[in-house]
């Protein structure tokens, strides 16, 4: 089959009307006219040979595999129990069975088609000329001049008033931008949401009680020495994500640690601890994750997101990792009924730093 073309080819090409041409002759001529020369074309197996029959069987096997697997997929999809049950149950195998049958069905198509294309089709090498590189100088000039002429026709150079009046169109762009920007923009400072938390309403005379996740109030005896719990402001929705900046870590320090902390409180933190209790913001000052991994032995808080470490006995000062700021301290006390309360909001903004945060 490789060299059946016996036609003499002249400069004008082959006469495709010639009835003696084979189909391949015409294909090769068509390719030539597209700048493609088929330089090598030969079957990989002699027609009817054992090798060819073998490859044909392989392709058929793969397609059969697809047929079987697709059928199994549909059967499993419809009849395999799929609704979730606790514990060991056939439904747990629903997704794996779907994946296996669908995957094998697709493997069958893929390998079948590939074997067909790579083994049963004759081997071919074709060469196509590239026609890239710049256009001819004449073409460039023709197009360039056309563009320049369009400029001349518009006559901007000759009509300065038009040029200036085009500036008058600029507000149209502004108008287009105004709608999305104006609708989206939200002032972070009025109200001052970045500087206030859910504890904002608390004052020494009108404190806000501390509550657990489930809304129950917190008494000092609920936290064992050396222990810590997460507390929220006892306000409507105080434990919800609506007050994502308010979660606070309440820590019951050991006596010596409490003495150490009270001995080196920053001025801003003076009077914020109560007995051997201290409350720090749980929101990491680095990227805002909850800095909640408490190492009781070393008195460190570790943020699991980027491993900033804060020293509880020293104003929650960052001692390792990328964080640069101490965790803010919540001023706490105990009210007449013996519940822990916050007597004010955090004195510095909680959470990650930003441009306006000094």
């Amino acid at each position: 089959m490789s060299e059946t073309n016996t036609q003499v080819r002249d400069a004008a090409g082959v006469d495709v009307a010639n009835p003696n041409l084979t189909r391949f002759d015409i294909v090769r001529e068509g390719a030539r006219r597209d700048g493609v020369e088929i330089v090598h074309y030969e079957p990989q197996y002699p027609p009817g040979s054992a090798g060819e029959r073998r490859m044909t069987r392989i392709v058929a096997f793969f397609f059969l595999l697809t047929g079987i697997m697709s059928t199994l997929f549909v059967v499993a999809f419809i009849w395999w129990p799929w609704e979730y049950e606790l514990g060991p149950h056939a439904s747990k195998y629903y997704t794996p069975i779907l994946g296996l049958t669908l995957g094998l069905a697709l493997v069958g198509v893929g390998l079948g088609v590939l074997t067909w294309g790579k083994k049963l089709l004759p081997h071919e090498i074709a060469i196509q000329e590239r026609h890239d590189g710049p256009s001819s100088p004449e073409e460039q000039k023709l197009t360039g001049t056309t563009l320049q002429f369009i400029g001349d026709e518009m006559g901007l150079g000759r009509r300065p008033i038009l040029k200036w009046s085009l500036l008058g169109l600029a507000p149209l762009g502004l108008a287009a931008a105004a709608i999305p920007i104006g609708a989206l923009i939200k002032d972070p400072h009025h109200p001052d949401i970045l500087f206030k938390t859910g504890w904002a309403g608390a004052t020494p005379t009108n404190p806000i009680r501390l509550q657990h996740d489930d809304g129950t109030l917190v008494r000092p005896e609920m936290v064992s020495t050396g222990g810590q719990i997460t507390v929220f402001p006892n306000i409507p929705g105080g434990s919800s994500n609506h007050y994502a900046d308010s979660p606070t870590l309440l820590i019951h320090l050991r006596e010596d640690d409490a003495a150490k902390l009270n001995g080196q409180l920053y001025t801003i933190n003076q009077g914020s601890t109560w007995s051997s209790f201290v409350a720090y913001s749980k929101i990491c000052t680095h990227a805002g994750c909850p800095a909640s991994l408490y190492e009781q032995q070393t008195n460190r808080l570790l943020c699991p997101c980027h491993q900033s470490q804060f020293l509880i006995t020293d104003n929650a000062r960052p001692i390792f990792g990328p964080a640069t700021r101490s965790l803010p301290m919540l001023p706490i006390s105990v009210d007449k009924e013996g519940f822990l309360v916050a007597t004010g909001d955090y004195k510095v903004p909680v959470g990650p730093a930003f441009w306006e945060k000094d």
């Binding site: 995957g103 088609v113 090498i125 400072h189 970045l194 994502a244 900046d245 997101c305 491993q307 930003f354």
Partner: protein, 528 residues
């Protein structure tokens, strides 16, 4: 009325003619059918990304039929008993429903996630291939830039998708994203509150991420993918050097049927891999993480792998805070805003940087082997080492935990490694490239090593070389170096027969050994 018989055999030809009289397609269609594509396994890496993208569109459309990006509070009442009655957002509830209460929903969710990971992985590997072989050079700079943009778009698209289910992991990721936006000097707080519609997390962010994830970004990606592939089509694919291959031609197979068949088959295989992974390997089991609560996080909360390098850079960043006049630039700004900025702009400019560096302004359609451009290969290794250190550092808590290494030591190892390893990688990759090149040149000059050691009369031992062509009087051959594979083993020269083919049993007969019937002389001691 006379009933006309339809000639079925003539029908295709006749309908083709009918089409062509209305829309003359014969000539352009033949051009497409006959277009020549070069073939090499490394040209298929980008295809994996393309096919994953198609699967992402298909599975994503299915998911969108069931998912609701709403932060409205609900009490879970679905099939998954452990979360019964738990307060959660509607988004998390519908994501759970997709996993438990929609038939086949879980496999679609998992296929979508795996396809996204494969999409990004294929892009990265493809990008390395393009870089190391010089396929980005003139005239293909634009496609290089489009490709890089698609990496960052895919990155954003993936992050948006990862944030949608509103489970504990997505909420944590979103919170970090808000902190990153906050860290931008001057406008940070305005950008963040505007995007979140107030304070984090607000009520609106999921709806905004959703429209970004299912409409805006896929639309832009689809447009860029089309331009990307279209430009490859118009500019014609690059090819490796080799016999008959020049800068002005393409040697390969015509698009139809061979190339198209291979593409179709390969698509099915990629689809199959994703289906198998989606069914057999669990990914992002959101029901185990629980709904997002601002106060809850667990250790080992890693992002998807393609985000990990930025997580790593954030972890390694020293605690440097710049403060002045009551304003400040937080340390988060440098590794998460400035670094990605540099990483996107610098590679985009690289084609022009290299052209000036090597003073090479010509158009190139022939690829270069990594060994033939040692400087560029060194740079690729350098970038790879930089990326690898950052990615490993993104999971340094896991490494510390599994190998019982101090976490702080891991951080310091990452900081030092980030500065030391890339230059070392540059040096070693460059030397390796030069060494490989040198060996090729040696084969061209002296021939293939035969493994036969000969002792010379003066007692020296030399290895016999088989020259590739007849050598000159000094035993040297003067073959030009063309930047393509040279034979390094004798059986590449046909000196040894090829291995017998067949997997379980031979499918062909081995050639019978040559029987040389020559009269033999008796070996004697030499004495009469």
């Amino acid at each position: 009325m006379k009933r006309r018989k339809v000639d079925l055999k003539a029908l295709p030809g006749k309908s083709a003619q009918e089409v062509d009289t209305r829309l003359p397609v014969a000539t352009p269609l033949r051009g497409v059918l006959n277009k020549v594509f070069p073939d090499h396994w490394s040209f298929l890496l980008g295809e994996i990304a393309l096919f994953s993208f198609i699967i992402l569109l298909l599975t994503g459309t299915f998911l969108a039929l069931f998912f609701e990006p709403s932060l409205q509070e609900v009490h879970y009442d679905g099939s998954y008993l452990p979360l019964q009655g738990v307060e959660m957002s509607r988004a998390y509830e519908t994501a759970l429903d997709l996993s438990f209460d929609v038939r086949g929903g879980l496999i679609m969710r998992q296929m979508h996630h795996w396809a996204a990971l494969l999409f990004m992985a294929a892009i990265v590997v493809h990008m390395f291939r393009i870089f190391m072989t010089g396929a980005f050079r003139k005239p293909r700079e634009i496609n290089w830039i489009i490709g890089l943009s698609m990496f960052w778009l895919g990155f954003t698209e993936g992050f948006a998708g990862y944030s949608l289910p509103d489970d504990a992991l997505s909420g944590t990721g979103l919170r970090i994203a808000s902190a990153i936006m906050l860290s931008i000097p001057v406008i940070g707080s305005w950008v963040t509150t505007s995007l979140f519609g107030g304070e984090f997390p607000g009520e609106i962010i999921l709806s905004r991420l959703y429209i970004l994830h299912v409409f805006l970004l896929p639309l832009i990606l689809l447009a860029l993918v089309s331009i990307h592939v279209g430009l490859v089509f118009v500019q014609k694919h690059t090819q490796w050097p080799g016999p008959g291959r020049t800068n002005k031609n393409v040697v390969g197979e015509r698009m139809f049927p061979r190339y198209a068949i291979k593409q179709g088959g390969f698509f099915m295989l990629v689809f199959a891999i994703i289906a198998l992974m989606g069914g057999l390997f669990q990914i992002n089991p959101i029901w185990l993480f629980g709904p997002y609560e601002a106060a809850v996080v667990s250790a080992g909360s890693q992002p998807d792998w393609y985000v990990m390098f930025l997580d790593g850079s954030t972890r390694l960043m020293p605690a440097w805070d710049i403060r002045f006049l009551g304003y400040n630039i937080p340390p988060l700004f440098w590794p998460t805003v400035v670094l990605p900025g540099i990483l996107s702009v610098l590679p985009m400019a690289y084609p022009w940087i290299e052209a000036r560096w090597k003073k090479d302004y010509a158009s190139h359609n022939l690829l270069q082997r990594p060994r033939d451009v040692p400087d560029r290969t060194g740079l690729a290794a350098m970038a790879g080492a930089f990326y690898l250190v950052l990615t490993i550092s993104g999971g340094n808590d896991i490494v510390a935990d599994k190998f019982h290494i101090s976490l702080n030591a891991m951080t310091w190892a990452g900081r030092i490694g980030l500065l030391v390893l890339p230059p070392l990688a540059y040096y070693f990759a460059r030397r390796l490239a030069l060494g490989l090149q040198q060996h090729d040149r040696e084969v061209l000059a002296h021939g293939v090593e035969t493994g036969i050691i000969k002792r010379l009369p003066d007692g020296r031992f030399v290895e016999v070389h088989q020259p590739l062509v007849a050598p000159d009087e000094h035993g040297h051959t003067d073959l030009p170096y063309v930047g393509w594979t040279v034979p390094k083993k004798m059986n590449r020269l046909g000196a040894l027969g090829p291995a017998i083919r067949g997997f379980f049993r031979p499918i062909e007969q081995s050639a019978p050994p040559k029987q040389e019937e020559q009269p033999r002389e008796e070996v004697t001691s030499g004495k009469p």
